[in-house]
Symmetry: C2
Subunit: 215 residues, 2 copies
């Protein structure tokens, strides 16, 4: 569905084999060949600032939140959300959530050394990034985030079913990581909790399968 | 899912065979036996007023809408929405939408005589009501509604898929009738169009099947 939506906006789509190269290498090569400007998906101040606007709006309405749970892939959404949250309420605890199968940011956070992961087979495809960004998002996550958590694939699916059944929302697996962490019971927060839900680009067949597994 | 949700709120659930009696007969009998108060699902001024609050909010924000499309089952939502819309913008055209398989209100509207339907096999289960309400909703629909339209089962399913894929919303078949009418092309409105989406109580298995049919 992401490919179809991208094509729908008129994009030229170039395929690659993730076993042979990386998205970063290939896009740098194409940029150089065609003299283009590269818009990085997360490791850039503008992207981070833009990703932080949802949390900014949330904290503008509810400055007294005690926790903020945010999905983490490349760390753009997490670092932007953390900056916005802490800027309005420095006492709020910001927690990043990753799939267990793509736990590079969690390992990076606790070892304070950038760790990587290669093509993790998680259903949360927005978190299949190789690592946090070396230039911006890794340092920002270290500075602004209080805790990192991981959730299982089954917990992610449970979160999708909960959002579908109870909230009537279609959220993609990566976007539901914060709810997955809450429902998993791994975190037992006291006080008011905010959760960033991000993205609804989920394939109908995959979503149907997840729904039926829970029936 | 409606049954499970109702039981979840602590209700006593009484089953009946729609071939043998009607909901109205059975509930009147139970009311008399147990000296209870009956809350009718649509044919009552309080229900109609409550159902009209969504359109009231919509027109408070957007008083210049040229059209309002609203699902129609028993007519509570439609008559309440029409009163609210016309109260704020008398020039707005209010259009009620029914499944072709349960077109009793459309036939009632154009014949100006109350028509019925018996257990119509439409996927839009919220519109399986036998008729508009004789006391309130039928007269109100005649007075306040400009037009009635019907849509096919396939058009209802298309609307559900559109809402899922493009709006990231889970809407039950009955609730998506207004969007179904728009997407069907049966109505070619000019100007600003408002649509009431009502209800998200849809069985996971049924929803999955509808999603997969469109893949």
């Amino acid at each position: 569905v992401k490919r179809a939506a991208t094509a729908g906006y008129g994009a030229e789509i170039i395929e690659y084999d993730p076993e042979e190269t990386t998205r970063e290498e290939l896009s740098a090569k194409i940029r150089d060949e065609r003299d283009l400007i590269l818009i990085p998906p997360y490791d850039h101040p503008h992207i981070i600032a833009g990703q932080g606007t949802a949390a900014f709006e949330l904290f503008t309405d509810h400055p007294d939140l005690d926790y903020l749970l945010t999905p983490c892939g490349g760390g753009g959404l997490l670092s932007g959300s953390a900056i916005a949250a802490k800027g309005i309420n420095p006492n709020c605890k910001v927690i990043g959530v990753e799939p267990e199968l793509a736990d590079d940011a969690t390992r990076s956070f606790y070892s304070r050394k950038l760790q990587t992961v290669k093509n993790p087979p998680t259903i949360a495809d927005g978190t299949r990034t190789p690592s946090l960004g070396n230039n911006y998002t890794f340092p920002l996550v270290l500075d602004y985030v209080n805790e990192m958590l991981t959730v299982t694939e089954e917990q992610i699916k449970m979160a999708l079913r909960f959002l579908f059944t109870r909230m009537k929302l279609v959220v993609e697996p990566s976007g539901a990581l914060g709810i997955a962490a809450l429902l998993s019971g791994k975190l037992q927060p006291e006080g008011k909790v905010g959760v960033i839900l991000s993205g609804g680009n989920v394939d109908n067949k995959i979503f149907s399968t997840i729904l039926l597994e829970g029936s």
